[in-house]
């Protein structure tokens, strides 16, 4: 049991990083992390060994999906998350570009890309977190990378902005 808690504690910085990149909003990200921890602790008894880290990534990913589903029916609210809002965090233009490029991705593609690139999960682990076959992870990853390239090349597609 102590191992479980230690595992959770050790993962907090990584969860914050992942949530920040997923939401691109510091406050929202930390709320997600907190909800994830509360849920993980509450269902500690349901954790039957395995990788605590993957389990936490799974919870956070699902909570974020729930959040986005609720947002999806409120187009007026999502419009507030505009790309043109002044950037609070990054002074460097490159950081802003990648942030905006990430914002144009479909959620499942963004999740797959971030888990691989930022969190260093293997493709198999990402498949488990997302509950899909590895082939699906590969195609999400591939599409995410193409989409980011297109965006950075200036071919801004007429795509809805999904936060």
């Amino acid at each position: 049991m102590g191992g479980f808690r230690q595992g959770v504690e050790a993962t907090v910085p990584a969860l914050r990083r992942y949530a920040r990149a997923l939401t691109r909003d510091a406050e929202l990200a930390d709320d997600l992390v907190q909800d994830t921890l509360v849920r993980a602790l509450r269902s500690e008894h349901l954790f039957h060994g395995g990788d605590v880290r993957s389990w936490l990534y799974t919870i956070l990913t699902n909570l974020n999906r729930n959040r986005l589903r609720a947002l999806a029916r409120r187009p007026i609210m999502t419009a507030i998350e505009d790309n043109d809002a002044p950037d609070m965090a990054g002074p460097e233009a490159g950081g802003r570009d990648i942030e905006r490029a990430l914002a144009t991705l479909v959620e499942d593609q963004r999740t797959a890309l971030l888990l691989v690139v930022l969190e260093g999960l293997t493709y198999r682990e990402v498949a488990e977190v997302q509950g899909v076959p590895i082939g699906t992870v590969m195609s999400r990853l591939s599409r995410a990378r193409m989409q980011i390239k297109d965006y950075l090349d200036g071919k801004r597609p007429a795509l809805r902005r999904v936060k």
Binding site: R5, V8, E9, V12, P13, A14, R16, R17, R20, A21, D30, D31, Q34, D35, L37, V38, R39, L41, S43, L46, F47, W55, T58, I59, N62, L63, R65, N66, R67, R69, A70, L71, A72, R73, R74, I76, M77, G90, G94, G95, D97, I98, E99, A101, L102, E107, L113, L114, V116, V117, L118, T122, Y123, M138, L141, S142, R145, I148, K149, L152
Partner: protein, 269 residues
């Protein structure tokens, strides 16, 4: 790129960039890239993207965790996280209530099955996002079923979906198209949520119908003047399995006595 003339696949190029390519394939991929500038450009581009992402967000992972994430504090019935949940609740309500009001104004007496389903899906989407208040009455409370049965006007039962790792959290009462509606919420250990919605329907008996709305989906059926909707993530076969299970359990529910219905609908509160 998977044909015989190209011994390196796109997947391998991704694996190469992500450092998960098996060591014995490394030379082959590098030789390939040396003679295929287009693929080499892709690889360079993907690397640059990954570097940009790590440069942008990597630092967050180096920060010491703020105090609010102290596990002992979070377990102690969590003073801090109540505020978080309240904020989430307000955000959800601002959007949600507006939606409900707009809906109510447009209400007319006769509704088709589509509206019935979309009503259930709206409730689903609204309440699955709730961290602290996904339900009104918890599953353990004895009055949950009698209360909702009384209001909906039939003997209700929440299906047992534990074979899908779905635990019943509880239920709530909602305004429906033809009267009160009951919404039961289920959750997997990793936080995926499903809902079971029931309300009166004046439609004829139907078979199971699958509908998607974005990344959520619903399965509807009508039986003995009650419409049922199982909603969850849009994974067709799983949702249909779950709905089938619920359907079978509802089939075997005790028959509704019409006198009881009249009494309960008159009683109100």
């Amino acid at each position: 790129m998977i044909d015989r003339n190209s011994p390196v696949t796109t997947d391998e190029l991704h694996a190469y960039v992500d450092g998960v390519l098996p060591a014995d394939r490394r030379d082959a991929v590098e030789a390939w890239l040396a003679t295929h500038p287009e693929d080499a450009a892709h690889v360079a581009e993907w690397r640059a993207q990954a570097d940009a992402i790590r440069a942008r967000y990597g630092a967050v992972g180096q920060e010491p965790a703020p105090e609010r994430f102290d596990l002992k504090r979070l377990t102690r019935s969590g003073r801090g996280w109540r505020a978080v949940a309240a904020a989430a609740l307000i955000a959800a309500l601002v959007g949600g209530i507006a939606g409900w009001l707009a809906h109510g104004a447009a209400a007319v007496a006769q509704y088709g099955l589509e509206q019935f389903t979309s009503e259930a899906l709206n409730a689903h989407k609204l309440y699955i996002a709730e961290v602290r208040h996904p339900i009104e009455v918890r599953a353990g409370e004895e009055h949950l079923m009698p209360w909702l049965s009384l209001r909906v006007g039939t003997t209700l039962r929440a299906p047992n979906l534990e074979s899908y790792s779905l635990k019943l959290l509880g239920g709530r009462l909602l305004p429906g198209l033809n009267g009160p509606a009951a919404l039961f919420m289920y959750e997997t250990p990793t936080g995926e949520r499903y809902t079971f919605y029931c309300s009166r329907s004046n439609a004829a008996r139907t078979a199971l119908r699958y509908n998607t709305a974005g990344d959520a989906a619903a399965v509807l059926w009508v039986e003995s003047d009650i419409g049922y909707v199982v909603s969850g993530p849009a994974e067709r076969s799983r949702l249909l399995d779950i709905a089938q299970t619920a359907y079978q359990q509802m089939e075997s529910r005790p028959p509704t006595r019409s006198t009881e219905n009249q009494v309960s609908s008159r009683r109100g509160s």
